[in-house]
């Protein structure tokens, strides 16, 4: 396209100061009007702004995190003493299943996606995500899934077959009632929303980057999100099939997992873990994306080994698909195959090692300023490295045969997931809270929060290694006094309360800071990436003039006369679309505005899957409903943005810089 060349090279223009300010003021008002968000109940169902959707995601996911924590506490109370009768086995089984399901599907994955949905557009300098309505749809599907699970749980219909619901235990013959059906459908909901989120993130990161942000200037946060999204895209279909087969086995008598009719129980394990292991990295890789910016900001120096880090992220993503079988070493699998998966499982320690070393090298060379976010990252190092090492042990077939499915594994997975994801996540909360709310969290409370969580965590989970070696299997609702597991369990249970105390401090800190925290300003940490280049909290349109990036650390490397993007309409919802590799401007893309239809499609999806538990006909009806809603989505004011233009009384053709900003000769 010939005109593109003209578009690409920066032009120097001369303008009068007052004129400039006047224009800016006018444009700001126009942008405010164009990007106005519907509020109140209507806003709840129609608002497609990526920031408010992400905020809802985060709040919802955190609420589920609290629920999951409460369940964990109940379990710890039950296991505090041998032969305790605090919970009945039936209750206990439901609770640990719901705990695992909540933490994996309703907390970890969504909250990581949410961070991406909030920050990817800001970090790449876009006005919104690529597909805001899909984004909204994803959120509602996720919310409904979560409510479904917990409604079931409260009605004594909580799933009770473990968070990976192995057949035949979860199959029709051994899980009567609707408990497991609810689990299976909840899985469907969360995976739909995860997939939607993945598509949105990739689209945004690939096509909506500010001019100059070539792929090798992409912030590591965004890289992590992209890798994660691709993992989701290739992993989720597997669990989609697993839960689909399970549901159809239970509801319409298919025989996928019925050995008597040629089905196979191991098939389920393959399908589940082909998703389930990448899942761990889907949770963990975004956390790596939090760690890099935090370290860079507080070490006050450039990242050590950017390329190495990116490559290790990508290779983690690939290898992550090669080790699902190490969850199944106790099943009849040929020795040779097992050793291959051992090799793969150990190989994945290499990229992790590279990352750890690069970060330590970064810290080493920096002028450290240890604030709470960095503190949490340091906690991550201590905990995650230990978890990673036990992971290497589990990767070895023979060792795995001893410690698999024991409390050792419980310890390992909590070290990896809490150490690897939750600690960085809390660090990220402290780091980005000012950007969300414009206020700082209390530093003092932050330190209390960290130390309570760090000490509590190790008290809970470190003894579990020993318990596992002493032969305590996981998922037991009680144990005999003779086994001598009492003391360590008691320690763990006490630790659980300290850990809970840490989380409580955080909640209080947030509530306090929300209203009375110190006002933050745009860039309280003097950080380098683009999200800090706008106000906190950012305006609905994110940036007045989309920035032009000149290096990996846009703010740190910004020159005095840093160019900006001009010519996007201020009266239509537009953002700049650039080329994938080197971010050259290509299109002025219309961003669709608020719409009710995504939430209605989500509701009809809900009808389809939830009523489908009770009668197959609901699938048909729900599909038709969804079809209708989608039709309206397609036909219903497709060019909303033009309408806003009309509302603002201007012709939608009016785009481009104000006349006084037309380029003059350079």
């Amino acid at each position: 396209m010939s005109h593109e060349e003209a578009q690409r090279k920066p032009q120097r223009i001369e303008i009068d100061q007052e004129e400039l300010e006047a224009t800016m003021r006018r444009e700001r008002e126009e942008l405010e009007r164009t990007w106005a968000r519907p509020t109140g109940l209507r806003g709840w169902f129609t608002d497609t702004d990526h920031k408010s959707i992400a905020k809802r995601y985060i709040v919802t996911a955190f609420v589920f995190f609290i629920f999951g924590g409460i369940e964990a506490a109940l379990m710890r109370i039950q296991l505090m003493r041998p032969d305790s009768h605090f919970l009945s086995p039936d209750q206990y089984n439901q609770i640990f299943t719901v705990h695992g399901t909540t933490m994996m599907f309703l907390f970890a994955v969504p909250i990581m996606t949410a961070m991406g949905i909030y920050f990817v557009p800001l970090m790449v300098g876009a006005r919104d995500v690529a597909f805001p309505r899909v984004n909204l749809y994803g959120y509602f599907v996720y919310l409904i899934g979560g409510i479904l699970l917990y409604t079931g749980f409260l009605l004594n219909t909580g799933p009770d077959a473990g968070w990976f619901a192995y057949v035949p235990l979860s199959g029709p013959a051994y899980s009567p009632g609707k408990r497991v059906d609810i689990w299976a459908q909840m899985i469907t909901f969360t995976e739909i929303s995860a997939l939607a989120g993945a598509v949105v993130v990739i689209g945004t990161a690939f096509k909506m980057r500010a001019p100059g942000m070539t792929l090798n200037r992409l912030p590591l946060f965004v890289w992590a999100q992209v890798v994660t999204s691709f993992m989701i895209i290739f992993a989720m279909p597997s669990v989609m099939l697993a839960s689909g087969f399970l549901a159809s086995d239970r509801l319409i008598d298919t025989h996928f997992f019925n050995p008597a009719e040629g089905g196979d129980a191991i098939l389920y394990q393959h399908l589940f873990w082909f998703f389930g292991h990448p899942e761990v990295y889907i949770i963990f890789i975004p956390a790596l994306g939090f760690i890099s910016p935090i370290i860079v900001t507080f070490a006050r120096r450039k990242l050590f080994g950017y390329v190495a880090l990116v490559l290790s992220l990508i290779s983690t993503g690939f290898i992550g698909f090669g080790l699902w079988v190490h969850h199944m070493f106790a099943t009849p699998i040929p020795q040779m195959g097992q050793s291959l998966f051992t090799a793969a499982s150990m190989m994945i320690a290499i990229p992790s090692g590279v990352q750890i070393f690069c970060w330590i090298a970064t810290l080493w060379g920096g002028k450290l300023n240890i604030k709470t976010p960095l503190l949490f990252v340091l906690g991550f190092f201590a905990i995650f490295i230990l978890g990673g090492l036990t992971g290497v042990m589990l990767a070895s077939v023979p060792l795995d045969l001893q410690i698999h499915d024991t409390f050792f594994v419980v310890a390992h997975l909590h070290y990896v997931l809490i150490g690897g994801s939750v600690f960085p996540l809390f660090g990220a909360f402290y780091y980005w809270f000012p950007k969300w709310t414009g206020r700082m969290l209390s530093e003092r409370a932050g330190r209390w929060n960290f130390w309570l969580m760090f000490i509590g965590f190790n008290l809970v989970f470190f003894p579990m290694h020993q318990l596992g070696l002493n032969g305590m299997p996981r998922r037991v609702y009680t144990y005999l006094p003779e086994t001598g597991w009492g003391t360590l369990n008691m320690i763990a249970s006490l630790g659980a309360f300290i850990l809970a105390g840490g989380v409580l401090v955080f909640v209080i800190n947030v509530i306090w800071a929300r209203y009375a925290g110190a006002v933050a300003g745009d860039n309280p940490w003097a950080a380098d990436s683009l999200e800090w280049a706008t106000t906190s909290p950012p305006p609905n349109y994110n940036f007045h003039n989309l920035p032009v990036v000149q290096g990996r650390y846009p703010i740190w490397q910004a020159t005095a006369d840093a160019p900006v993007v001009r010519g996007l309409s201020t009266t239509k919802r537009e953002t700049l679309v650039t080329s994938v590799m080197d971010a050259q401007p290509e299109l002025r893309f219309d961003i669709p505005g608020p719409s009710i239809w995504p939430s209605l499609v989500a509701l009809s999806t809900a009808v389809m899957f939830i009523a489908g538990i009770f009668t197959p006909w609901a699938i048909l009806i729900g599909a038709i409903l969804a079809g209708i809603a989608l039709t309206c989505w397609f036909f219903g004011d497709p060019n909303y943005e033009n309408k806003t233009a009309r509302e603002t009384g201007e012709r939608s053709e009016h785009v481009g810089p104000a006349p006084e900003l037309r380029p003059k000769e350079v």
């Binding site: 303008i15 400039l20 895209i233 008598d253 003039n545 002025r588 893309f589």
Partner: protein, 208 residues
């Protein structure tokens, strides 16, 4: 006077075909998801096959000589129909790029006809199996494969109909020309996937 360096993008277009447009990316990412789903489904098919001494399993009512292989008729017809339906879609695709409204309209209509025909044929295909989904694992997985593909066929048809209605009743603007090209891609994908499934469901059992 103060100076300001700007990149003026006011002349850029709103929509462009293929990799320029985020819609293209969204669509192809969805197709990637579905492709990996079908990939795993096919893996499942062959995994389950290991559990059967005979594939498909023998049926008591049939004589020993006659194996309950899926009958070729409808499946083959369906394959041909889908392949044929690609011709109008290619025309629609090209015309959309050239901006030739008439051809796009005709192409879409013909395509939709074919798709509807394919849906009907698929109905018969299920009956051409000797097994129901609840007979055994073989029946389950084959019905699941046919069903999954049928679902995509249905979605494709509905989308095509909507798009046709649009370009008949409303403006034939760049946005919707891009949509036409996108749906064409989807169309080719559905056909391609079917060719694979067709080979697997109908011929791998015959290879013994």
């Amino acid at each position: 006077m103060s100076t300001q360096v700007v990149i003026d993008v006011s002349e850029l277009p709103h929509h462009e075909f293929d990799t320029y447009d985020p819609v293209w990316w969204g669509n192809n990412l969805l197709l990637t998801i579905e492709t990996s789903m079908f990939g795993i489904l096919i893996a499942t098919y062959f995994y389950l096959r290991q559990n059967f001494p005979e594939w498909p399993p023998p049926v008591a009512q049939l004589t020993a000589t006659l194996k309950p292989l899926p009958q070729l008729g409808y499946g083959t017809a369906n394959t041909i129909l889908l392949l044929v339906s690609c011709i109008p879609m290619v025309l629609t695709d090209i015309s959309a790029r050239r901006g030739n409204r008439g051809v796009s309209q005709i192409g879409l209509v013909v395509g939709v006809m074919c798709a509807l025909g394919a849906l009907v044929l698929r109905g018969f295909e299920f009956s051409a199996m000797y097994f129901r989904w609840d007979s055994n694992a073989y029946g389950s997985v084959v019905w699941f494969m046919l069903g999954m593909h049928m679902m995509h066929l249905a979605i494709l048809t509905v989308e095509a109909i909507l798009l046709a209605v649009w370009i008949f009743t409303r403006e034939y603007d760049m946005k919707h020309r891009v949509d036409i090209v996108t749906i064409a891609i989807y169309w080719y994908w559905v056909t391609a996937i079917w060719l694979v499934l067709y080979a697997i469901i109908y011929f791998t059992p015959r290879l013994g």
